[in-house]
Structures are given as structure tokens and as C-alpha cells.
């Protein structure tokens, strides 16, 4: 137990926990809407774009978040536009953009620094990658995501449940879809430093799916997903500290266990 508590004595651990809890909250809230709107793969696509952006930023010694946030936000808006396009279908568009961004990232990395530990940390995440400045920026951005989600909650529910009805009553559904995509983009970038580009989408999808196994109302699903997300993150981090396993993968493993548990529980109930 004292070994577990000692993890709080490291500054980088404190930073990682604070940012991680905030990002987990954001991911869970947005995840409920994304999963229900059948946008789950957007998170995955955006994380690959994020990897490309971080690779380019590190090659040119630019601020990683400063480059990745705007690039991924743009990609998110582009993906939404493409969804409405009949020529390229939504899931194909996501695959197209994410693999292209990954390819660009890999080329830039191999030409400049080569596959070093920094690049590996982008792919699989590292709690050590968070500088103090990053942590502050991450905290501010995730608080902004949380605040926007709460303020627009009635409208986001209406647009998620029935976009046509929302449009008919004069709601700018396009605006709220874009808002959702932009908030997701920011969350993905913030989370991928710690979780890794390959694992961040699980932070968005798992808590929502687990909560849907248990709850019947939208608000209950949102609150339950938020709780599951935070608990899984903290337990994952603790496990990662005790067993010296990679942090991102440990959090995903915790999410998987909870999902399995919820599925069993949901079937009985």
C-alpha cells in the first residue's frame, strides 16, 4: 500500500494523474455522443493524424501541442464534411486520412531522427512525455471541453438523439456536430501523449459502451461513463506503477475488464 501511495510523491506522476483524469472525463462524455452517432472511428482516425502532426512537430523542433491541436481540429472538420459527401463514404474517408497521416509521420520520422524512444512514446504513450507547460495547457483545454459539454448538454442530446427533429426546430445541427468533432479532436491530442496514438480511441469508446450495458437514460449513461473512465484510468495507472507495465496499455486493460464485467451484469439485469 505504501508502495502504491509513493507514486503520488513524484511530480510527473501527479501531473499525469491530474491531466489523465481530466482527459478521461472529456473522452467519456464525448464518447457517449460519438458512439451513439456512429462516429466511433473518428477518434481512431484523428489519433493517427495526431501522430503525423507530432512527428512533424518534433522533426522541426516545434511545440508539439501547438502543432497537433490545430492540425487535428482541421482534420476533424474535414472528416465531418467528407461524411456528407456521397463520393467518399464516411468510414472510407477516415481510413484514407488516418493512414495518409500515419504514412507522412513515419516518413518524416525516418528521414529526420529515426525510430527513437520519442516516436515510440507517441505511438504507445508515456507519462514521462508531459512537461509542466503541457500539463497546464492540457488542464485548461480539458476544462474548456468539460464546460462546453455541460453548457450545450440539452442541445447535444437533441442533436445526438434526432438530428432531423433538431434541425426542424431551427437548431443548427451542423454547428453542434462540428463542436463535437472539435472537442473530440482536442481531447484526442491531449490524451494521446499519455495513452499513445494507437490506444487513445479506446478511452473514448470503452466507457460509453460499458455504461450503455448498465444504464437506460442518457444522463445516467453519461455520468456512469464518466465515473467508469476516471476509475479505470486511476486503476490502470496504479497497475502500471506497481507492475511496471506501459501506462496506456494498462488503462485500456482496466477498461476492457470493466467492459466485460458490465456486459455480464447488463445481461442478467
Amino acid at each position: 500500500m505504501s508502495g502504491l501511495l509513493s507514486m503520488f510523491s513524484y511530480h510527473f506522476m501527479q501531473r499525469a494523474l491530474i491531466v489523465g483524469v481530466l482527459v478521461s472525463l472529456c473522452a467519456a462524455l464525448l464518447g457517449v455522443s460519438l458512439v451513439l452517432k456512429r462516429y466511433s472511428m473518428i477518434g481512431d482516425g484523428l489519433s493517427h493524424v495526431g501522430f503525423g502532426a507530432l512527428a512533424v512537430a518534433s522533426a522541426f523542433h516545434l511545440a508539439p501541442l501547438g502543432v497537433a491541436v490545430p492540425v487535428v481540429v482541421l482534420a476533424a472538420i474535414l472528416l465531418l464534411r467528407l461524411r456528407g459527401n456521397a463520393k467518399v463514404k464516411g468510414d472510407a474517408a477516415i481510413a484514407l486520412i488516418s493512414s495518409s497521416a500515419l504514412a507522412i509521420g513515419v516518413i518524416v520520422v525516418s528521414v529526420t531522427s529515426g525510430m527513437n524512444t520519442e516516436v515510440t512514446s507517441y505511438l504507445f504513450g508515456s507519462i514521462l512525455s508531459l512537461s509542466r507547460g503541457d500539463a497546464v495547457l492540457s488542464a485548461i483545454l480539458s476544462l474548456a471541453v468539460l464546460l462546453l459539454f455541460i453548457l450545450f448538454y440539452p442541445r447535444l442530446f437533441a442533436v445526438t438523439f434526432d438530428e432531423t427533429f433538431a434541425r426542424a426546430t431551427g437548431t443548427r445541427a451542423e454547428f453542434y456536430n462540428t463542436l463535437l468533432a472539435v472537442l473530440t479532436a482536442v481531447t484526442v491530442v491531449l490524451g494521446m501523449r499519455m495513452m499513445g496514438a494507437l490506444l487513445i480511441s479506446s478511452l473514448i469508446i470503452f466507457p460509453a459502451l460499458s455504461a450503455m450495458r448498465l444504464c437506460r437514460s442518457f444522463r445516467a449513461v453519461v455520468l456512469c461513463a464518466a465515473a467508469i473512465s476516471v476509475v479505470c484510468f486511476v486503476f490502470g495507472m496504479a497497475a502500471s506503477y506497481v507492475f511496471e507495465t506501459p501506462s496506456g496499455a494498462s488503462v485500456v486493460a482496466a477498461d476492457l475488464i470493466v467492459f466485460a464485467f458490465c456486459s455480464l451484469l447488463g445481461r442478467k439485469g
Binding site: 437533441a158 432531423t164 434541425r167 426546430t169 437548431t171 437506460r216 437514460s217 449513461v221
Partner: protein, 235 residues
Amino acid sequence: MAILTCENASFSYDGRTVLEGVDFALNAGDYLCIVGENGSGKSTLIRGLLSLKAPASGKITLSGGLKRSEIGYLPQQTEIQRDFPASVWEVVLSGCLNSLGGRLFYSDEDRRRAEENLERMGIEDLKNSGYQELSGGQQQRVLLARALCATKKLLLLDEPVTGLDPVAAGEMYNLIKLVNLCDGISVIMVTHDIHEAVRYATHILHLGHRQLFFGTAADYRRSAIGRRFLGGSGI
């Protein structure tokens, strides 16, 4: 008094006209059924009436104090909704979306209206139930209650009884007629069921890429097109 007027409106997709010559007026208290075969332009007209699609020519005007955002719309169910985790209360309350205006959250007045419409539809005991666990008929009542939260004047119903068993469909028709008669709310309904249409509606609009008939339900029964569509039972 006319609350909605459609003047020689036509609609097109990518320059190809799908519906033309739509010309009718809806008075307060009217119950209009839009009938026609699949692909005859019914859904397009609905989108036009909701201003989700602009007419290629002609115009649609609302009058008598009716605003665009104050049409109570009951859309066809989507795949997403069938397994959507939402309580009946959450769905019905979301009908008050258009009265939010600049506010962020629903007011007590909105909640009162939602309660009222739950009672009106006889589903107040389902308030806390999950929407996905309801029967098809109950789900349509919930969506009708939501539509009523959005309007005081006009309901626009897109095939509200599709997929319901005959008993539930009959109940739905009666509820809609009740709202029309008792509350004076005008109704525009798209339906496949021509026999029920002439039974409940005051007016019929028959489409087939253009306006084939518009008039009272009684005139429709006597018209050549009406007789053909009603399959002899109207003769």
C-alpha cells in the same frame, strides 16, 4: 385563416426536378393527409415545409403567427434511435428545444409543458422508462408528445403508424384526431394508408412527382384519381 401556403412550388436535386406544381393552402384546424406512391415526392415536400430544403421555384409561406421553428415534427424513426439509451422524459423534454432561444437549459415552464404532453398521450407512467424498451406504439406516442412540446399550431407527421400493429395504429390515429379536434392543432400527415387518410383527414394532397389532387377528403372520394386509389371501396 391560412397558416401555410404553398404557391406553385417545385423541388429539384442536382438540377433534376422531383416534384412540381405543388399549390395548396392549409387553414388553421385543417387535417391534411399527403398521399402518393414511394418516390412520389412526399418526403421532399416535408423537407420543404420544414425549410430543410429550399424550393427550386415557387414559394412556401407561413402566416397567422406560425414560425418556422414552431412546427411539431414527428420524423420517421432512425436506426440510431432503436437502441438509444434515453428515458421517455429526456426525449419528450427535448421537444422544448425551440423554446430554449438564448437559454442554455430548460426552464420550469418547459418541464411543465413536457409533463402536460406526457399526460395528454397517456404515458405519464412511462416517464422514467427507457425509450428503447418501449413497444413501437409507445415509442410513437413519446415522439408525438415531443412534437407537441414544440408546437401550439401545426403538427407534421411523417408516416406515424408505419410498423405498428393494427391496434396501436388505430390508437395513434385516434390520438392525432383528438389533438386536432380538441386543441385545434392543424395536422399534416404523410401516410401510405389511403383508407385511413380519407377517414380521418379533412383534406387530401395526392402527389406523383407533381400535384395530382388537392381538395377535401369528400371531393377526393368522388374524384377519378381518388376512386382508382381507393380501389373501388369509394365508389
